[in-house]
């Protein structure tokens, strides 16, 4: 059931207890940590660029990264599918997109792999990596992931499809319809709800009628799991179990990760208008990044040396991605009418 065979090559016996407990290698843990830190670093750079007037819009994944890396890690890259949402930077990085891929989306360059500069930043996607193109109307992607899972079942590909969205979005009708269908057909499908307690300004108590979105799972006859989104390995374990169920033909799982939104909803939002300073300060304590770091350090997996190396590498990556993206040309309007339909004469 090891879905990450490529990245857990080291022998189990030589791994830390922390890694062994969840069936991963120390190298896995370090790579997971690197992804969390990388996602955060790219994200922070986006805000700097936005405040400097270089990119007009930012939508952020800060506070969600741990849950994203943890859950996405359980899937098999190049085989399984992810239908992410606008906060899914860490998800996309985990599933194969690069810092340059993310940064060209911010600049909406001609070679932005997500959309060629057609979509707003945050609307990632990559055919190469089985990452579905994100759209803005929330929750629609759940049905696409269910359909991908249906095709996987019919074609017997062994693939699993995972989708993610916020708790606010989970109230959309499409979610109900999709969970019902996926459950009836026991599709290899995983629904990750990243519950950060707000839909823009509306607090969870005003947008979800239950404390845990996971409570809705039983209404479809599927397991619903609540995990602490700041606990990367708990997120991983929940997703790993869900993947196992999915591959075994046992059907979908709903995983609710309790995360936090460390920034405003987007660069257009001023969250101090509806969240108190105390609340915002308290939420900082729910950040997966420092927690994962401490955990890995305590376990002896993350050493000063490794950390320094990672830090330097990530700084260089972010620098490179920014410079690269900034240097890329804007899309040519001459191509703006292409790909409304398949371009039979000139395939893209």
């Amino acid at each position: 059931m090891d879905s990450r065979s490529t990245s857990s090559r080291t022998l189990p016996g030589r791994e830390s207890r922390l890694a062994a407990d969840v069936g991963l290698s120390d190298a896995d843990l370090i790579e997971m940590y690197r992804l969390v830190v990388l996602a955060r670093a790219i994200d922070e750079r986006m805000w700097v660029l936005n405040r400097a007037g270089l990119i007009p819009f930012v939508i952020s994944g800060q506070g969600h990264e741990g849950a994203q890396v943890g859950t996405a890690w359980a899937l098999e890259k190049g085989k399984d599918w992810i239908a992410p949402f606008y906060r899914s930077i860490a998800t996309c990085l985990t599933f194969g997109m690069s810092a340059r891929d993310i940064m060209t989306a911010q600049y909406a360059t001609a070679n932005d792999p997500s959309s060629g500069g057609r979509q707003m930043p945050g609307h990632y996607g990559s055919h190469e990596h089985n990452i579905l193109s994100v759209s803005s109307p929330v929750a629609t992607q759940l049905l696409h992931a269910v359909g991908i899972a249906l095709a996987a079942k019919i074609r017997k590909t062994g693939q699993v499809a995972m989708t993610s969205m916020g708790e606010g979005s989970s109230n959309q009708g499409d979610v109900h319809e999709g969970l019902n269908f996926a459950a009836i057909h026991k599709l290899p499908f995983i629904f990750v709800v990243e519950n950060n307690g707000y839909a823009i300004s509306v607090p969870a108590a005003m947008e979800v009628s239950v404390a845990d979105v996971a409570d809705r799972a039983s209404g479809y006859g599927i397991p619903g799991v609540v995990v602490d989104g700041s606990d990367v390995l708990a997120c991983y374990a929940a997703a790993r179990d869900a993947v196992a169920r999915a591959r075994a033909g046992e059907g979908p799982t709903l995983i609710e990760a309790k995360v936090t939104r460390l920034t405003g909803h987007s660069s257009d939002d001023q969250q101090t208008k509806y969240r108190s300073a105390e609340e915002l300060a308290a939420e900082r304590g729910h950040d997966a990044l420092p927690r994962f770091r401490e955990q890995l350090r305590d376990a002896g997996v993350l050493t000063d040396e490794i950390e320094e190396r990672l830090e330097a590498k990530i700084a260089a990556l972010v620098e490179d991605a920014t410079e690269y993206a900034e240097a890329q040309p804007d899309p040519d309007p001459a191509g703006a009418t292409r790909y409304v339909y398949a371009d039979v004469e000139e395939p893209g």
Partner: protein, 327 residues
């Protein structure tokens, strides 16, 4: 082959395409054991089984949304919306998602999917089982919209739709299912999307129509022929992309254009046809571009007296031709 009904042509083409291409699946409400409420999918479940003929829950957004996903992962779904009237819960999935997937991903992803739906009035279906909904979709770049009027075209166009790499809405007039018959070659022919047909050549007035109205237009052309009026009927067959060449060639020849549609007039599909003709054939026009269409009420009323009042019929079209010819 003996002449086939319109619905025979559809059912047999679905079966053919499923035999030809194992990635074609059919899904929708009651399409399995029951074979569809109109029986357009009768026999498919028996032949192709549970995996390829799926009786879905009563949830249209799910039907379309999962079809999009299935199309992204290697299948060619042909989904049925039980009545075109019930396509609106899926509107967001069709317009925001299916239509834009290719464009927004810069050709990263495409959605080879066909959505079949019976449409149209005249069958005592009332407000919610009679609608013409094409205008909502013909406006949308990224979609293709097909409305065949003969068994021959139904077969050829359904083949093209299923094999097309992009989402196609395929509307079938339910009144034609069993009332319209015609020859259907037993070959693998296709009718290309985006090509209209001149179904009745004429010289004085161009009548543009599609679906059931294409038949009524032919009847009307026969009627006015008795008055010595020569009408040319253009059956559009595909509404998006529109075959402007055939359309404009005809109008430039006749100098007059009457557009017929069953839907309520204001903002209906025929408005775009009129606008194109008015702009691009202006110098050739010997009379106003006119339209015969449904009245401005929110649906076809049920009572047969009201339904008759609502429906465009051959005589109303003939009157329109006569008036225009006399202009």
């Amino acid at each position: 082959m003996p002449p086939r009904t319109f619905i025979d042509a559809i059912r047999e083409t679905l079966a053919d395409e499923m035999r030809r291409d194992p990635t074609v699946i059919v899904l929708g409400e009651d399409v399995g054991k029951k074979g569809g409420v109109f029986r357009a999918t009768d026999g498919l479940w028996a032949e192709f089984g549970d995996d390829r003929v799926i009786d879905t829950p009563l949830t249209e957004s799910m039907i379309v949304g999962t079809s999009i996903g299935a199309a992204l992962n290697g299948l060619r779904p042909v989904c049925e919306i039980q009545f075109a009237d019930f396509i609106f819960p899926a509107f967001n999935q069709i317009v925001s998602e299916a239509a834009r997937m290719r464009y927004r991903s810069n050709n990263g992803y495409g959605v080879p999917m066909t959505i079949r739906a019976p449409y149209g009035g005249g069958v005592h279906g009332a407000l919610y089982h009679s609608q013409s909904v094409e205008a909502f979709f013909t406006h949308v770049p990224g979609l293709k919209v097909v409305v065949p009027s003969t068994p021959h075209d139904a077969r050829g166009l359904l083949r093209s739709s299923i094999r097309d790499p992009d989402p196609v809405l395929f509307f079938e007039h339910k009144k034609m299912y069993r009332s319209v018959r015609g020859d259907v070659p037993d070959t693998d022919y296709t009718v290309p999307l985006g090509k209209a047909a001149i179904t009745h050549p004429g010289t004085q007035v161009t009548v543009v129509a599609y679906g059931l109205m294409a038949h009524y237009a032919l009847e009307a052309a026969d009627r006015v022929a008795e008055d010595g009026i020569s009408a040319e009927v253009v059956d559009l067959r595909t509404l998006r992309p529109l075959d402007t060449e055939t359309l404009l060639d005809s109008v430039r020849k006749t100098g007059k254009c009457l557009i017929v549609y069953e839907d309520n007039r204001f903002g209906g599909y025929g408005a775009e046809v009129a606008a194109i003709v008015a702009e691009e054939a202006f110098d050739y026009l010997d009379g106003p571009v006119t339209r015969i269409a449904g009245p401005e009420v929110p649906g076809v009323p049920y009572n047969h007296v009201l339904e008759e009042w609502f429906m465009v019929n051959p005589e109303k079209i003939a009157e329109g031709i006569r008036t225009l010819a006399a202009y």
